[in-house]
Subunit: 273 residues, 3 copies
Amino acid sequence: MFQTIFANVRKACPLVHNITNYVTVNDCANMLLACGASPIMADDEEEVEEITALCAGLNINIGTLNRRTIASMLLAGKRANVLGHPVVLDPVGAGASKLRTETAERLLKEVKFTVIRGNISEIKTLAYGNGTTNGVDADVADRVTDENLPEMVAFAKAFAAKTGAVIAITGAIDIVADSSRAYCIRNGHPMMASITGTGCQLSAMTAAFVAANREQALEATAAAVAAMGYAGELAYERRSATDGNATYRNGIIDAIYNMTPETLEKGARYEVY
Amino acid sequence: MFQTIFANVRKACPLVHNITNYVTVNDCANMLLACGASPIMADDEEEVEEITALCAGLNINIGTLNRRTIASMLLAGKRANVLGHPVVLDPVGAGASKLRTETAERLLKEVKFTVIRGNISEIKTLAYGNGTTNGVDADVADRVTDENLPEMVAFAKAFAAKTGAVIAITGAIDIVADSSRAYCIRNGHPMMASITGTGCQLSAMTAAFVAANREQALEATAAAVAAMGYAGELAYERRSATDGNATYRNGIIDAIYNMTPETLEKGARYEVY
Amino acid sequence: MFQTIFANVRKACPLVHNITNYVTVNDCANMLLACGASPIMADDEEEVEEITALCAGLNINIGTLNRRTIASMLLAGKRANVLGHPVVLDPVGAGASKLRTETAERLLKEVKFTVIRGNISEIKTLAYGNGTTNGVDADVADRVTDENLPEMVAFAKAFAAKTGAVIAITGAIDIVADSSRAYCIRNGHPMMASITGTGCQLSAMTAAFVAANREQALEATAAAVAAMGYAGELAYERRSATDGNATYRNGIIDAIYNMTPETLEKGARYEVY
């Protein structure tokens, strides 16, 4: 099924509007191109509504938020809602500062999100109003493991029911859930933690996947998460002894560029609960 | 002739001031270094006039414009004009929003540009006050082809006559024109469309080329366009089976770094009308 | 000794708060990850104090400063001082504009820095209130050579005494000094000048090194400088004929990723005065 979903992205070439941080923005743009979509970045209040109207999907990432861009996120998100465009939220660092937590909460209140993708600490912060955090990384104590998986799946489904969004919690084991079903995805490689922006890139790609698969937000999100993890595996396999995290970063984007719907279908490893 | 032009860049090492978007800014900096120039990025109103005064050329790119940086673009552009420094405009996404279109128009009215470089949709927007657009990419209907080439060359020359700037329309076939002559450049590779920022990088490099070849803005722009396209060809040739767009992005910058005036002279493919 | 210092970074995995320019920010983040630290970027006044409180060190880089981020730098710097966190200043382009020079001076007056790292022109600007500069690059006339080394070492020690900070002047020969001792580091490769951001990356990495070696700021800074230079050598050795500055940029980050405390100890070349 991921095969059809990915083929739809390559066929539709969705234009995705990104209001995102300046740390990983170039990687997000190249990742969107790698998966077959087109990126546009625009964050000024005076143009975000118009830009989002041109696009097929919107990706809001609070990574280096400020007062000016927060206003733009709200404007663009509401406009995308009116137009019925899918909207993805990446609550980078929610829990790490009051500004991030409150902005994420305000976005959740004023904008209807199709997908919320974050690490477990960020998602817990959104669900419970507070959470532990380690900067922009998940707190170790929070991590999804095989032991706590049933509990985490229930948590993701409940938060999906509450928000009406597909919830994607990414980490060593990824959970992608709506209110009734959850994909637990086993793709990925630990080395992905050694580069900045794999989460941001995945959120951007998720916006493309849901934009090209409007009626299947759960499956489209699961396919994007599996594709990212599988790309991390492929890039690791191709790594030479002197390669480090910089080359690995390029390798992941390259792997998405060269991934086909068929290889994704074969490479994806997941269970559905 | 491109040989001499490129040799002048390597000899002069022009310092280029860039007010550009945060998506591709790092690539622009590394591309300037690759061609033998030096980059400086500064976008605050309080310093842009001073910074531009230190430099040999200015590159204005509206890719992620906002109110603050628009004011800086105007200040820097006017100051560069007073000093007689070459100024390049990259009207990224003109036509995609009122803010971008109006900002590009205002810049054209208040600043005298040496070169305007964009895709065909962006340039048509500037010339006609409106245009079709596909976000930051050219609309397919607009594309320059062998069939419409004479008409497009006439359009470019007419817009060059109107603005007093060299007009560079880049795409599968590139047109670089002043009011009386046009270079049609056949270098490039379709894979260049799969990475973000080749246009931005080219605009930055063009600023370096015209800064080092003050009396030959047309030829300098044509040489920069040919160099970029040729680099796209070379990077494609060197590509291995598992490389994708991320490695290709590095390959293009690498190819400019290793390009010599002689290899550019041999690799450039163009006609003059 | 550099061995123990680097091992401490890998053990402590310090979280480093960066208020830095948008040109090289991604490279700074990946370099921090490469050396074993974690990056967080946040530049809004409303959150910088909280973010810095979460972290083990702060890196302030004025590369693309503006009014908004200058206020954040001051807030974060003062907060880090109250908390006793190490703070690094990278005065990018001090001397190139009044805004940069005055901002650097104001930061020096209001914040106590653990380390100040810049090229010789930037450091002279801070020390003398003015200096020659070539944009963001050092002026040739200023460069540290074997001939002027004793004088430069004395200058660095005197400025260290005046500021209470470790002074790191990087270039072909690097000087890292406190008021009584100076490391002259001979690592590095001329090709490092062909990529943007090696200085910024080094400043970020230095913040991690001093954060993980709180009682040894001089040695930690010297170790970071040696590691960066040695990475430049290793990346150059691994370079193939068609590689250029883009691949070299990745190669340097990769070399830090793969560097061990032992290889750094063996590869570092320096004298102590």
